[in-house]
């Protein structure tokens, strides 16, 4: 693998790792592991832990996928590996 491509791949892996940390924290962290602690806080009629489990985690997932897609497009351009337009 050329140095260019391998540093592209390393940056991609770092980005994936960061995104997966967020993915884990909002769902498994806030929604399951620390749900009781968060439930002492209220968000309107929602207990916060319950909200993360049934609403919040899903919103964050959507944002994460778009963020990743956006960041990768920039990364593609930075390393000059974008697809050629057909």
């Amino acid at each position: 693998m050329s140095t260019n491509n391998s540093s592209y791949w390393r940056e991609n892996l770092r980005l994936i790792f960061k995104c997966l940390i967020v993915w884990f924290v909002v769902s498994f962290g806030c929604g399951l592991l620390f749900v009781e602690e968060l439930n002492t806080i209220r968000l309107g009629g929602y207990k916060l832990g319950f909200w993360f489990a049934q609403q919040g985690s899903i919103y964050v997932f959507v944002a994460l996928v778009f963020y990743y897609s956006h960041a990768m497009n920039k990364l593609d351009a930075k390393y000059g590996v974008e697809e050629s337009e057909e």
């Binding site: 693998m1 791949w9 592991l33 996928v65």
Partner: protein
């Protein structure tokens, strides 16, 4: 107009729409049949993925499950959406870059092994067929309840409809019908939810209504009231009730996530987009369209529970008199999904958590979404819409699964292995024949569900999680994992998972409780088989790693192949090499 006429109009006009689209989008090449020619834009593909993914189980069963599980139902919400994050980052862009038609084809190329490809085909067929039985049953039930035709006849009509547009249009026809079906199903799902939210809380947005105060002027939050109502009757508190223990919920959520990312009929949809960039974006759009339903579902669940409780006990101590029960109650009693027994002989309905005094001896979870509009006294056209939406959800998923099956048989087994010299025209013909056969088999299985029908979802997700997901992920993120390692990993992953699921087959299969691949029966015994996919996946990873260490790394040209699909440049549309 009466309900039945309205329902006929809603259902048959939606069918007419699907046929018209299928005629317009006929497939003329294998590329169109398997991958819609690779011309589907990311938003359209996202919508099609939404319909493909959201099955009768999402549409009908999920809110009902949440309704009775409360907080415990969160595993489905997080599990079935979180998988798309994995799909978008770990699989979809690279599979699209590789540019083939099917998941087994990718596995066969990456692991330079026909054996790996055949194992993948086997996993795919078992996972897809088990999944499809639930869809066929959903179609049969929706017909028999709403159009009052025989279950078998309803199933037959459903099979006929899928046959016409799936066989004629292949992936191209399916994609465009799925877009229409997504619109039908999301409209049918949200309209009643908006009405009910408005009625209960005064807020038309269900996601906000669920966190609002009751509209009765009491100033009490809906969820607090619901907690109070259910705990008074001895049920677990709605917002904190766990599903088994914490470990089970964790494993369950993770299994559903990796299972979702490994389901071939969903992955296949990423072969239809024109570029790697579009594959990443369409995962995002798919999740938006899925989230629209998945964030409404908890509101539907909680509000349906509230309405049910209010109907049976309008004010504390004032229970509903059985003879004055509403029409929907009588309708569902006829189906056997709702049963009442006057244990204390007072002619009133008591609904409690105590089996001794509880008189609602059966409240099937699946009726909650279907009965919800009637329970909330919504107009008939809304109920008719729900019937059309449920059918759209079931048909769109069935079509996607059928395509996954037929392409893996005609493209992977026949073209790839048995008869490599088959012409494109004959391959197209054979995939249509295979699809017809698959419809007949799944229809037969829907009519005579095999013993494992109740565990179908466990099996499909377990297989995808323990075999396909790890094989794909290792193939992309490790250059060195060898073909032998992948085959050994997949076989041991499936082996462990199937063993565990089948071990519970006798226990889990309770005749009559299974409707749309019901999952409740699994939860009574230790770790649920549904939560076991993640264990199978760990076994798969471990075995593959060890075998790869022993047998040595993959050859240089395969390492080159991996390097090539890791970068986007140089991708073309899905095609033959």
């Amino acid at each position: 107009m009466d309900l039945k006429t309205l329902t006929y109009i809603a259902v048959f006009s939606s069918f007419g729409l699907y046929f018209a689209i299928a005629w317009w989008a006929r497939a003329s090449s294998t590329s169109e049949f398997y991958a819609a020619g690779g011309h589907v834009g990311p938003v359209a593909n996202g919508m099609a993925i939404g319909a493909d993914w959201m099955s009768a189980a999402s549409f009908i069963s999920m809110a009902g499950l949440i309704s009775f599980l409360g907080y415990g139902g969160s595993v489905f919400l997080m599990g079935w959406t979180g998988g798309y994050v994995l799909l978008a980052m770990l699989l979809a862009p690279y599979l699209r870059k590789h540019g083939k038609f099917t998941v087994p084809e990718f596995i066969g190329d990456r692991y330079y092994s026909k054996a790996a490809r055949i194992v993948a085909v086997a996993c795919l067929i078992i996972a897809s067929l088990t999944y499809i039985i639930g869809q066929m049953k959903g179609v049969g039930v929706a017909f028999s309840r709403f159009l009052e035709v025989d279950y078998g006849l309803g199933l037959g009509i459903g099979m006929g409809v899928v046959w016409v547009y799936a066989v004629m249009g292949g992936m191209k026809g399916i994609t465009y019908t799925q877009i229409a079906q997504y619109c039908v199903l999301i409209f049918a799902y949200t309209v009643p939810a908006v009405f009910i939210s408005l009625h209960l809380t005064g807020n038309p947005i269900p996601q906000l209504g669920l966190g609002s105060t009751m509209a009765d002027g009491s100033g009490v939050y809906l969820l607090d009231k619901l907690d109070l109502v259910v705990t008074d009757l001895g049920f677990k508190e709605y917002t904190t009730a766990k599903l088994g223990n914490g470990i089970n919920m964790f494993a369950y959520t993770l299994s559903l996530m990796i299972g979702t990312a490994g389901l071939p009929h969903v992955i296949m949809r990423f072969f239809t987009v024109p570029s790697v960039k579009a594959a990443r974006a369409s995962a995002g759009y798919a999740l938006v369209f899925i989230a629209l339903l998945y964030t409404v579902a908890p509101a539907v669940g909680a509000m349906a529970r509230m309405n049910l409780m209010n109907t049976i006990e309008p004010s504390p101590g004032q229970n509903l008199v059985y003879d004055e029960r509403p029409q929907w109650f009588k309708d569902w009693e006829k189906t056997g999904l709702l049963e009442f027994e006057d244990k204390n002989g007072d002619g009133k309905i008591q609904y409690t958590a105590d089996a001794e005094t509880n008189e609602m001896i059966k409240v099937d979870r699946d009726i909650m979404v279907l009965a919800n509009p009637a329970i909330a006294n919504l107009p008939n056209w809304v109920i008719a819409l729900v019937a059309a939406g449920g059918l759209a959800a079931a048909l769109s998923t069935a079509a996607g699964l059928l395509l996954a099956i037929s392409s893996s048989i005609s493209h992977d087994l026949m073209k790839g292995i048995l008869t490599p010299n088959i012409s494109e025209k004959n391959e197209l013909l054979s995939s249509r024949i295979v699809m017809t056969l698959a419809i007949l088999v799944s229809g037969y299985l829907g009519l005579n569900p095999p013993g494992f029908a109740a565990g179908t979802v466990a099996l499909a997700f377990g297989l995808a999680a323990s075999s396909i997901f790890p094989a794909l992920m290792m193939g992309i993120f490790s250059k060195k994992i060898s073909g032998h390692a992948a085959v050994a990993g997949m076989c041991s992953g499936i082996g462990v998972t199937m063993l565990y699921v089948f071990q519970h087959k006798g226990i889990m299969f309770i005749p009559g409780t299974a409707f749309l691949g019901d999952m409740e029966a699994n939860w009574f015994f230790g770790i649920s088989p549904n939560a076991f996919g993640v264990v199978g996946a760990i076994v798969n990873f471990t075995v593959a790693f060890i075998v790869s260490k022993i047998t040595g790394p993959a050859p240089k040209e395969i390492q080159q192949l991996v390097e090539n699909f890791r970068i986007p440049s140089g991708a073309g549309a899905a095609h033959h090499h």
